[in-house]
Amino acid sequence: MQVPAPFEYERATSVDQAIGLLERLGSSARLVAGGHSLLPMMKLRLANFEYLIDINDLHAELGYIRLSDDEVRIGAMTRHRELLESDVLAGVFPIFRDAEKVIADPIVRNRGTLGGSLCQADPSEDLSAVCTTLDASCVIRGPGGSERVVTMEEFHVGPYETAVADNEILTEVRIPRKTFRVGSAYAKVERRAGDWAVVSAGAAVWLDQGRIVDARVGLAAVGPNTTGIPEISAALRGHEPDESLFELAGAIAARSCEPVTDTRGSADYKRHLADELTRRTLRKAVERARS
């Protein structure tokens, strides 16, 4: 049986109480949300923590999807399954449902959370790519009720490293809504259902009078972090979408990423997929924006 090293366990009763515990226990403590990234690492003894603070009881407080005119707010404890099943979310940003269909399996999705996914900051993690694509920002709360909001670029500091300090909690993700027609899509190549991405890509396109006012692409598993590619946005803005534009975007994606060869595939193949999936998701996003 794979068992973690001994640790102490406490259930948080509120966000501020959890922050209080984090502050007291410092780097020897970790929050556990869905536990589907943290616990496997602890069982394999790749990570050992003295204390776990369980924030699942905060689901009532931090599990939500709220839609307003100018943004979508999603609580950090919102489960994969809730993201998958939300028609409201799929209505505005179908990229979420696209992605959730290919993240892990139902058992993992029942527990795993948006906050845990982002905070794990695994380079192959899918929701970070989705949030990057949608230009999301992250709300981080610290001691004394302090709160700061950072962009996805600021949030991801490196592989498995985020801007969230030892005594802070990610509470919410905010996704801006613009007044234009929007379409979004996600695609992933995996060796088998439930496997992490060989490469995945998200795309979002905002159209005004048939022209691209903004377009964003986010890639996973092709670099130290999920990557947004500003050069693609710049190349697409102001144009009417067509195949040659998607091709251009794909070429930029392929050359902007930094994949490595591993058991999932060769670096060359991954670069090729960055191109292929960028084109596919942009095509789909435009199709959705138009319909």
Binding site: M1, Q2, R191, R192, G194, D195, V198, R264, Y269
Partner: protein, 797 residues
């Protein structure tokens, strides 16, 4: 995400036909297993039981400089810490493998693969045992590992088996079969020769239940009870007696419910021996249950053959000869599970289902710094590799001849009147009728239409492939004159007891790991005696109350034990007949057997049922002269030959030209395993094996980095397929009974695992034909398919 089609539940309506004998019926064991009433090794709880955890080597090759166990010994709850040195003192540091090599129970001098057992801890609970492992301080002197099998025999390669006296290289054995000279002669005169280097990568059986044991040694009685995950309880008992020096009658091996074996649970692993030593040392029962990573990195792997295949043919597509040269990676210890006279298992059947003029194989096996094994994994003793070899090279020949692969096969089949057929490597195929099986598969697939569809799709740039494989297996080891494992003949016993009320218990020497023995064997007895299967209990797995025999692997249960069951029932029936003649007051010659009863010839009104006879056998009143009371019999069956099931498989794949992802769209499997006892169970075995095949063809591989670290140490890294990767299986059958088996049955357990990988790979290669591809090695992951599409296919090792 794949959308799952709505499965019509009515398809399963006819699964329970309540047969008294052969036919579809639900599995008797399923109620227990599905309702959580199964009892597996890890369910065994004994009073005072302690728990064992194993410290394993982080290095593939290193000398052990020192081991300090003092901190672990002082750790809470720890009862014992045992190292190789301790075992050396007991003469237990090494044990024999199934192939007459030796394997370290705990490393003494050196570790030879990553994951090798170095020490173990026994503690009050499993957490304490696991935590104490962290406190054992081992100093290693890291050595250069032998990872690349092709370099294992280089003169400057480090010698792995320094424990073997006088060993100066990494050579394990050379093996040869067929006639080299004749084969060369035929090759020299052939119109066409096709050569291909084919790799069957190392894969792992990965049963859902990992290996484990509970040992309970009673020092007063000198008795050992051992619950363990074993496919061969009797053979294990004998080996423990030999290794541990405990008298055999004082050892009881119990294999309770087993959660999948696939050959993984044939060998004796060090962990089983550790639990025995742990129990002897502490005087308490000791449980060892390995975790998933331990199972994947240290227990018996399968395959790992690098094969050069060559086929010779006439320009018209008449296959003349096949030859092959194989380099086999056996890991650090030769732990292959195969009859001893067959170091390469039954690889000799690589001539396949074709009537050819000559064949030759030369094999070299070597040691590397990888986990030992070379076990089955549903391979019927290396037949998986053999079938893959021949079915791949035949397809390569079709490619060169520009011939349809189905047509090429049909043209070369051994003909029905040629059976029994002796192959050029000396195997005597008992029976077969190949063409109807092949034609049925083609008809079910709509082969002609598929080819037309493919043509249209190719014109549009779409990638669709159709792959065929046709296999003949050799299963049911085996005749004791030439088959044994460590000196134990491969015969199997069976005991049948009919109780006074006509219910029965049958005791087997084989052991199910999911194959459905409790149903199939009840049906065999039912067919012979007319007692409903529900009234027959099948006991197996406990050496104290079952007859001796060699266990379940290599698809041998039905060919060997199934024959024993039929014959033991006939023995009981013969005795019942004597009693019936007394009951009906007619001579034996005047009785007819109508399933379940003896009837007076010409007078159907006068009959006695088997139940009535059973009561009389145990009841008051005299029995005929010379007839003992009771209604029971026992037998030990020695098969006269193996059985040779065959099958025709057709696979249809679609490949996404942009991402190179392979989708198995359809799979048609027509199997001929002779007489069909329970078609539902047969289909279940086939479904499982086909799924295995998808795994091996498309994703599974145990790979290593250059330092010898195993890269497949978890199920995140070692991929096995899910329901989403497999299509709705289309199964069919033909029936060509085995002439020497009492009920004409052949094995089916491994057919699909053997037959499906070549069908899938052939389909992928066929889809890639527009790119001029003739071969690509497994696993055909998207990345490797993409390489192939660009003409850059590489072997996986």
């Amino acid at each position: 995400m794949t959308d799952i089609q709505d499965k019509k539940l009515t398809e399963f309506d006819d699964n329970d036909q309540h047969p008294v004998g052969f036919g579809r019926m639900l599995r008797k064991e399923d109620a227990r297993l599905l309702r959580g009433r199964g009892r597996f090794v890890d369910d065994v709880q004994l009073p005072g039981m302690l728990h064992l955890a194993i410290l394993r080597s982080p290095f593939a090759h290193a000398n052990i400089v020192s081991i300090d166990t003092s901190a672990a010994e002082a750790s809470p709850g720890v009862k014992a810490v045992v190292t190789g040195e301790t075992l050396k003192g007991l003469g237990l540091a090494w044990m024999p493998t199934l192939s007459n090599d030796v394997q370290a129970v705990l490393a003494t001098d050196r570790v030879r693969f990553q994951g090798q057992e170095v020490a173990f801890v026994v503690a009050e609970d499993r957490y304490q045992a696991r935590d104490a492992l962290e406190l054992i301080d081992v100093e290693y002197d890291v050595l250069e590992p032998v990872v690349d099998v092709r370099k294992a025999l280089d003169p400057d390669a480090p010698v792995i088996r320094t424990d073997l006296e006088g060993k100066t290289d990494n050579h394990v054995f050379d093996w040869e079969t067929g006639d080299e000279e004749e084969t060369n002669r035929v090759f020299a005169s052939a119109d066409v020769i096709v050569k291909e280097d084919i790799v069957y990568p190392r894969v792992h059986p990965a049963p859902m239940e990992t290996c484990g044991s509970v040992a309970d040694f009673d020092p007063v009685e000198g008795r050992l009870r051992l619950w363990s995950t074993t496919q061969a309880p009797h053979a294990h008992r004998t080996l423990y007696a030999i290794v541990a020096g405990i008298p055999e009658h004082k050892i009881q091996v119990i294999a309770p419910d087993i959660g999948g074996g696939f050959g993984n649970k044939v060998p004796i692993y060090p962990g089983y021996v550790h639990s025995i030593v742990g129990s002897i040392v502490t005087g308490k029962p000791v449980k060892w249950m390995e975790d998933r990573s331990e199972n994947l990195i240290s227990t018996g792997f399968a395959r790992d053959y690098i094969m050069r295949a060559e086929i010779a043919a006439t320009a018209e597509g008449r296959i003349l000869a096949i030859r092959t040269n194989v380099l086999a990676d056996h890991g650090a210890f030769n732990g292959t599970a195969a009859p001893v006279k067959y170091p390469a298992g039954f690889f000799g059947v690589f001539t396949g289902s074709y009537d050819i003029q000559a064949a030759h194989c030369k094999m070299t096996a070597v040691y590397t710094n990888k986990a030992p094994g070379g076990v089955a994994y549903a391979c019927s003793f290396r037949i998986t590799e053999a079938v893959y070899l021949v079915e791949r090279i035949v397809d390569a020949l079709a490619y060169e001849l520009r011939m349809d692969p189905a047509e090429l096969r049909l043209k070369n089949f051994i003909q029905p009147e040629q059976f029994p057929y002796t192959t050029k490597t000396g195997w005597v195929y008992d029976s077969g009728n190949y063409e109807p099986t092949m034609r049925l598969a083609m008809e079910m697939a709509g082969y002609e239409e598929l080819r037309k569809e493919q043509e249209l799709k190719r014109a549009r740039g779409e990638l669709m492939g159709i792959g065929i494989s046709f296999f003949t297996e050799a299963v049911g080891a085996g005749p004791r004159k030439n088959m044994d494992i460590l000196g134990l003949g491969m015969a199997d016993g069976c005991e049948l007891r009919v109780h006074p009320t006509g219910k029965a218990v049958v005791r087997l020497s084989v052991k199910t790991q999911g194959q459905g023995h409790e149903t199939t064997f009840a049906q065999i007895i039912a067919e012979e005696l007319g007692i409903p299967p529900a009234d027959i209990d099948v006991l197996h797995g406990d050496t104290d109350n079952t007859p001796f025999g060699l266990g379940t692997y290599g698809s041998r249960s039905t060919p060997v034990s199934g024959a024993a069951a039929a014959l033991v029932a006939r023995k009981v029936r013969d005795k019942a007949k004597l009693i019936a003649s007394a009951m009906l007051e007619v001579s034996v010659a005047d009785l007819d057997w109508v399933k379940g009863a003896f009837q007076v010839k010409g007078d159907p009104g006068r009959s006695v049922t088997i139940q009535e006879i059973a009561f009389r056998a145990h009841g008051a009143g005299d029995l005929p002269d010379g007839v003992e009371g009771g209604l029971e019999a026992q037998i030990c069956y020695n098969p006269s030959n193996l059985t040779y099931p065959h099958g025709a498989y057709i696979c249809v794949v679609d490949i996404d030209p942009g991402t190179a992802e392979v989708k198995v769209r359809r799979f048609i499997a027509v199997d001929d395993c002779g007489t069909r006892i329970n078609p539902m169970i047969i289909e279940g075995q086939v479904h499982g094996g086909l799924t295995d095949g998808v795994g091996m063809a498309l994703m599974e591989m145990i790979s290593f980095d250059e330092d010898g670290n195993c890269l497949g140490a978890s199920l995140m890294d070692y991929l096995i397929p899910t329901a989403l990767e497999v299509p709705d299986w289309e199964t069919g059958y033909t029936v060509t009974p085995s002439p020497h088996h009492p009920i004409g049955a052949k094995g089916i357990g491994e057919s699909a695992t053997v037959g499906s990988p070549p069908a899938i790979v052939n389909a992928v290669v066929d889809a890639l034909k527009p790119f001029g591809i003739r071969h690509a090695d497994m696993p055909l992951t998207p990345s490797r398919v993409w390489d192939a599409m660009r003409g850059q296919a590489t072997p996986p090792i």
